[in-house]
Point group: C2
Amino acid sequence: MRRPLLACNDQDKISAFLSSATTGYLGLTDNSEPYVVPLNFVWWKGAIYIHGAESGRKMEIINRNKRICFTVSENFGTMVNPVPAKTDTSYMSVMIFGEIEIVADLSEATAAMQKLLDKYVPGYFSTPLSKHHVDSYRSSMGSRTIVMKIIPKVITAKEKPLNEQRLFYKGRHVADDAGMV
Amino acid sequence: MRRPLLACNDQDKISAFLSSATTGYLGLTDNSEPYVVPLNFVWWKGAIYIHGAESGRKMEIINRNKRICFTVSENFGTMVNPVPAKTDTSYMSVMIFGEIEIVADLSEATAAMQKLLDKYVPGYFSTPLSKHHVDSYRSSMGSRTIVMKIIPKVITAKEKPLNEQRLFYKGRHVADDAGMV
């Protein structure tokens, strides 16, 4: 029996979560073998943008199969219960299913890189990223870097809200929770 | 060109990392479609143990294809550089490839559940978990819960150490780093 109450359909909440989360996990399929790689990313205009080297196993797989599952999750703490099997975790997670593609357009790639900088080093740079800079790093380094884009076909989200009264902290003991149902 | 210098072959370090990390991402393959689910886990005796509902899409996929990629990663911060494309992330990540199986033995399942409690609510319970408790939750709830085990065939790890002097913090500005190469 699934627990449909955990489903989150609040698009604004999903969008805010994807905007603030630091790391996403890109799942790929290499024939029948799964491959999951952690990545920085930015959620922008309804898509996930990432960047990375043009070579390596990730790209080899993508060149054969563009289907992806991109998962982002955050753990808000463990919630205790005197019944061990009722120990629980507060979290929010989002799964995005779709396809991944290389962003060939330099304007879009530059804008996505700017959004990545705005997310991971906000306020650090005094001038906007130039297309020239992005282009030179796309084409001239030993390892070319490219920008890729995930266009979601299906997004699902689950959430288990934190019950602060049950939050585990160091030193908390079951004897303190004798009255807990 | 890959950067092999990032590879980590220090088994003790990998083991310590897997012991302390909170969330793992289980990658599965459903025909040619990837599926990535975040999970609590414990690294014990050279295996990954998880627990969860016996029903649901994850189990449907596992029943068809037991191959997995289990990825654990931690982000230690963003490292700035006046050259935007040299902005970098400090992290450690471990990828485990292998197969997943249900733990049918009640003693092993109970021991793994105990290890999960020891990890997520250390010191909370005053008595060890009983086989009876695990068995009753395996067999009597509306949603049966089961313990599963991942036996690694291949483990790879990568690490980019943190350069503290480059660590981004709120308010840091490129003008402060004019002398940085």
